[in-house]
């Protein structure tokens, strides 16, 4: 046995252990520990990926001394390795990019708690990726939920507390369904490890016994994980959750956490139920329908938003819909497209969340469209980051999003019954995406007078006249005049272009640049990645 084969276990345990250690450290040290842990685990995952690529096969790793079917197992193949590496990179960049804002948003005494949550999140994500045991998956799903809840409530505003409780409620529903699903599966098959369970399921299907329980299991597990990943119509916690957390938390939650559950679902289909059985059960068609509905609904709601954070959050609802649509196609190609979209959306959405904070800072912490007008000039790097991210989401060629759409479209041709719906859904949602992202982009690059935002924003509202906004803006303006000249001066002085640029923390600059590069890599050199995904799925087999 090669030493590298220990690495998946090491990386999980390193992440978890650094979380435990951080509980007695100061915020700064916890941060250093956390960043180191993320780096180390990413490197370890890269080694695993390289190892599996070289040997060309996956391996299982026995935890403890009991062999299957009794003991616990970890399993690593190229797809697991690749996912772990990409998740690690996105997580690293999100944490680094949001450093400054985490410092601002989180109380100094609670800084270390934030990084504990990040560590636990990393550890649980890695465990979800690597584990070969369903009950272990359940335990880490719960750890993931708790860490996610901690990240959301970290800024301790009323909004984030209510968002956290809603998140907890929905997640508990999902976990409950997942748990009952795997209890039933244990009942039917007598197995919790994925590989023996799959053999047992194959026997059951061959016998023709337990058809209905099997259907219930697939349905319950799918619905449970769909709730947790925010598939329409279980999405209503998403906008608040992503919209009101600190930037790092938003990026991690929307970029990675929901994807972890989807990855688990894909593993469940491939490694436990078997794809043919999943396709025959028609549950997959339900996922397809809700995926398509989510694409439409998310995009439409995103168009209606006037607040950028919520807009991006609703766009996540749409993108989750894309992924489920890919899974719902029920073909190998659809699954590849879905997995690629997990990566490309993770990279893009995290970029959007990180870079739009730079724009908010250049607009006096306001997040509505009007205040952001012209902020692309005030903070050029963040503007560029947002531009690339938005274009990638829309599906501009040479960026990650285009490849996802290409893969979805080509995979659609392989499943004749769903081809037309898929293509129409893709086309409509792309146009809708274009509408809301490009509208915002034009706003970002629309110059305002003298580079100030405070003047333009409320005045523009009053200029619209007669709308409900007018009252509010009058109040705003009134408040401003009470405050004397001060706000106006602040507006004019504080944010002229170069000043805001200088205010960009260097960590954030690095993160944005790296995210842009990541997007370009996914867009330009997608072929090796797609090949690895294909190989990885074959190894799932």
């Amino acid at each position: 046995m090669s030493f590298v084969q220990n690495f998946p276990f090491f990386s999980i345990i390193i992440a978890m252990f650094s979380g435990i250690v951080s509980s007695v450290l100061s915020g700064k040290k916890a941060r250093a520990v956390s960043i180191t842990a993320i780096t180390v685990t990413t490197v370890l995952s890269a080694c695993v990926l390289a190892f599996c690529l070289r040997t060309g096969q996956s391996y299982t790793y026995m935890m403890g001394h009991f062999p299957a079917p009794w003991g616990n197992e970890i399993r690593a193949g190229v797809l697991e390795g690749l996912t772990a590496v990409l998740f690690g990179v996105v997580m690293f960049l999100s944490v680094v990019g949001g450093l400054r804002y985490t410092e601002e948003d989180v109380e100094p005494s609670k800084q270390n708690l934030f990084y504990i949550m990040i560590d636990l999140m990393l550890s649980s994500l890695l465990a979800l990726i690597y584990t070969n045991d369903l009950f272990t998956a359940y335990v880490f799903v719960e750890i993931n939920t708790i860490a996610g809840c901690g990240l959301i409530m970290m800024s301790q505003t009323g909004r984030s507390l209510t968002a956290a409780i809603r998140y907890m409620v929905m997640s508990s529903l999902g976990s409950g369904l997942f748990l009952i699903g795997l209890s039933l599966l244990y009942d039917v098959t007598g197995q919790l490890l994925m590989s023996p369970a799959k053999e047992a399921v194959a026997r059951i299907v061959a016998d023709g016994s337990y058809q209905i329980p099997l259907l219930v299991i697939v349905a319950v597990v799918s619905v449970g994980l769909a709730i947790k990943s925010g598939l329409f119509p279980f999405h209503y916690w998403i906008p608040d959750t992503y919209g009101y957390a600190t930037p790092t938390a938003s990026a991690v939650l929307s970029g990675l956490v929901s994807k972890g559950y989807i990855f688990l679902l894909i593993k469940f289909f491939y490694r436990v139920i078997g794809t043919e059985n999943a396709v025959h059960s028609h549950i997959i068609n339900t996922l397809f329908v809700f995926g398509v509905a989510g694409m439409m609904f998310g995009s439409l709601r995103a168009i209606m938003q006037t607040d950028t954070r919520k807009m991006i959050a609703y766009s996540s609802v749409a993108q989750i819909g894309y992924i489920y649509m890919g899974i719902g196609l029920g073909t190998q190609a659809g699954m590849i497209a879905a997995i690629f979209h997990i990566f490309s959306h993770g990279a893009t959405k995290a970029l959007l969340f990180i870079s739009c904070v730079g724009l908010y800072k250049a607009s006096g912490d306001r997040t509505d469209f009007l205040a952001l007008r012209g902020s692309g000039y005030r903070n050029r790097l963040a503007g560029a980051g947002f531009l690339i991210g938005a274009l990638s989401m829309v599906g501009f060629p040479m960026l990650a999003g285009f490849i996802s759409k290409l893969l979805f479209a080509t995979s659609a041709f392989a499943s004749p019954h769903k081809m037309l719906i898929t293509l129409i859904a893709l086309a409509v949602s792309t146009v809708l995406n274009a509408i809301y992202f490009l509208r915002l982009l034009i706003g970002l690059y629309r110059p305002t007078k003298s580079g100030s935002f405070v003047e333009a924003a409320p005045a523009e509202q009053s200029g619209r006249g007669g709308e409900a906004e007018a009252g509010r803006s009058a109040k705003l303006a009134g408040r401003k005049s009470n405050g004397g000249v001060k706000p106006a001066e602040k507006g004019a002085g504080q944010v002229s272009g170069s000043a805001a640029l200088a205010a960009n923390p260097w960590t954030m600059r690095i993160a944005i640049v790296c995210f842009i590069i990541l997007n370009l890599i996914l867009g330009l050199f997608s072929q090796p990645i797609v090949r690895v995904i294909t190989d990885g799925l074959a190894m799932f087999g």
Binding site: P397, L406, L423, L438, I442, A456, V485, A488, G523
Partner: protein
């Protein structure tokens, strides 16, 4: 490698101009930092103390009038600038014109040198690459020449607008993208450049940043993006059926392949409608008449003269270089396409005839004229193809000339409506003469150029073997030519012969008599007017060149 240069050079130059402008602005802003806050205070002062609400409204009307520049706000564009301070040509203007001239040289060198370059692969089968061929060279050389002339014109025009540097920057970038589009070796490359063209030409439409300009820009963007994604749908399908999407003269599809792809015709139709957006084809023509009047005149000139041709280029590539005319001839796609183009030809002329805003009238005329080209392409026979490609060249020259004229009128007199143009002959007789020549060419009166292409279109239509549509075609073309005469010539007639009751009070009061536009404007107009005549008298080389392409693809 020579084919890469004309693509990269203008993009690099444009980015450099934009970066330079950005640096200058931030320097100026830093020095004028106190001025900025002073101005804010002044804006507050105007409202009469304390009423921040009113002050904000005041500020916005200033802000909307189109400048993010702290030191130059609060004035209508052009109004506060004395002619003296703006008539000289700055170093930047010279560099800009030199860059465009160099671009023309590079394009011609590339066209002469030939060659191809493979950039990189998106997936196993989809690659990005550039290749020089006859069609690409024709479009690229045409583009670069029009761009040079318009560039010269824009230097004069932009003296009356804010943010000239920004315009120059994006203007340079767009030409690089367009040349890339013309030399694209496969459909994916073409699509990439097509999308880039939409995004980079958007600032040209948005230039003035008034509310109307932003709305028009949005409309331009959404039509373009919507059309492009409709086309993308088709591209996905072709990629799936065909695998390799690189262009070959005559197309890649054989009858058996076409029979094995049930949705091929639908996909092609989607692409025709999608790319037809840029060419202003019904039903997605709506952006054209909205976007043109708000854009600065040089931008309208290239939008109409050149960028609409990018849509034509995309369709030429798809129909004649990818799918192949043999597969499509006689199918419902051909019939539907012909109907759409004829409808557009008629509708565009009709709307132009009824339109009073001069630039809008020209925009509707473009809608109609570009569909002449598309009609020629839809015939799918060599004669029609020849007519279409020659009309591309002729219409480009003519429409650019007409928009130059419209721009000159706006700069000299500020008139934008057609009924204001009465007696224009007293103001700018020379420019009006050039306008007359271009108008006659567009109507298609021999020996001007439009006649040649329309002759080919009409004979091609009769020879196309498409039954009734083949006969309806020439009739529609004739009616449209009559309408063209109806909407272009009255301007000339009432310009030179305003009638007995015309006193020309305004002309005298404003001292406009015999006030020709500056040389920078007049020379490009004259060159293009001469070109319309020369191309009409000696169409031989061009027609021979196009016929060679036509023979290769059919």
């Amino acid at each position: 490698m020579s084919v890469l240069l004309p693509v990269l050079w203008p993009i690099a130059a444009g980015v450099a101009v934009l970066a330079y402008t950005g640096i200058c602005n931030s320097k100026r802003k830093a020095s004028a930092g106190s001025a900025a806050s002073g101005e804010t205070a002044a804006a507050k002062g105007v409202s009469g103390g304390g009423n921040a609400y009113a002050a904000d409204t005041g500020t916005v009307s200033g802000g909307l009038s189109g400048t993010g520049n702290a030191s130059e706000t609060g004035a209508e564009p052009g109004a506060s600038h004395s002619a003296a301070s703006h008539s000289q040509i700055t170093t930047l203007d010279l560099i800009y014109m030199a860059a465009l001239a160099l671009e023309t040289v590079l394009v011609i060198l590339a066209a002469a040198g030939g060659g191809s370059v493979r950039l990189f692969s998106l997936t196993d089968t989809l690659t990005l690459g550039l290749r020089v061929d006859g069609t690409g060279s024709l479009f690229a050389v045409l583009t670069s020449i029009m761009w040079l002339l318009t560039g010269i014109h824009s230097v004069a025009y932009m003296k009356h607008e804010e943010w000239a540097e920004r315009f120059y920057g994006f203007y340079l970038i767009v030409v690089g993208v367009l040349v890339g589009l013309d030399y694209a070796a496969d459909l994916v490359t073409l699509y990439v450049f097509y999308e880039m063209m939409t995004l980079t030409s958007l600032p040209l439409v948005l230039h003035e940043l008034t509310k109307e300009a932003v709305q028009a820009g949005m409309k331009y963007l959404f039509y373009s993006v919507g059309g492009a994604f409709l086309a993308l749908f088709g591209i996905f399908y072709l990629a799936n059926v065909c695998g390799d999407l690189s262009f070959t003269a005559g197309g890649r599809f054989t009858a058996e392949m076409a029979a094995g792809a049930p949705l091929l015709l639908t996909a092609v139709f989607c692409m025709i409608v999608g790319f037809g957006t840029k060419a202003g084809m019904f039903p997605l023509h709506g952006w054209l008449p909205i976007a043109h009047p708000v854009a600065p005149a040089p931008a309208s000139a290239v939008l109409s003269g050149v960028i609409t041709k990018a849509g034509v280029m995309a369709l030429v590539r798809i129909i004649y270089f990818l799918v192949g005319p043999d597969v499509l001839r006689g199918t419902w796609v051909q019939a539907a396409w012909m109907v759409l183009t004829l409808l557009t030809v008629f509708m565009g002329s009709m709307l132009a005839y009824r339109e009073n805003v001069f630039k809008k009238r020209l925009a509707y005329s473009t809608v109609s004229q570009v569909s002449y080209v598309l009609f020629g392409l839809s015939l799918m026979n060599p004669i029609g193809f020849t007519g279409a490609l020659t009309h591309v060249v002729f219409h480009s020259a003519i429409k650019t000339c007409l928009f130059f004229f419209a721009g000159a009128v706006i700069v000299v007199t500020g008139w934008k409506k057609v009924d204001q143009l009465r007696g224009l002959g007293r103001v700018m007789p020379l420019a009006l003469a050039a306008y007359t020549m271009a108008s006659l060419a567009l109507i298609g009166i021999p020996p001007f150029s439009g006649f040649v292409s329309k002759w080919y279109l009409a004979t091609g239509s009769l020879a196309s073997g498409t039954g009734a549509l083949g006969f309806i075609g020439p009739v529609v073309l004739l009616i449209s030519a009559l309408l063209t005469a109806g909407y272009l010539l009255p301007i000339m007639i009432r310009g030179y012969f305003p009638g007995q009751d015309f006193e020309g009070k305004e002309i005298e009061e404003r001292g406009l008599a015999k006030k020709e536009p500056s040389l920078l404007m007049l020379v490009p107009i004259a060159i293009l007017a001469a070109a319309t005549l020369l191309l009409g008298c000696f169409p031989g080389p061009l027609v021979a060149f196009v016929e060679k392409i036509a023979a290769a693809v059919m």
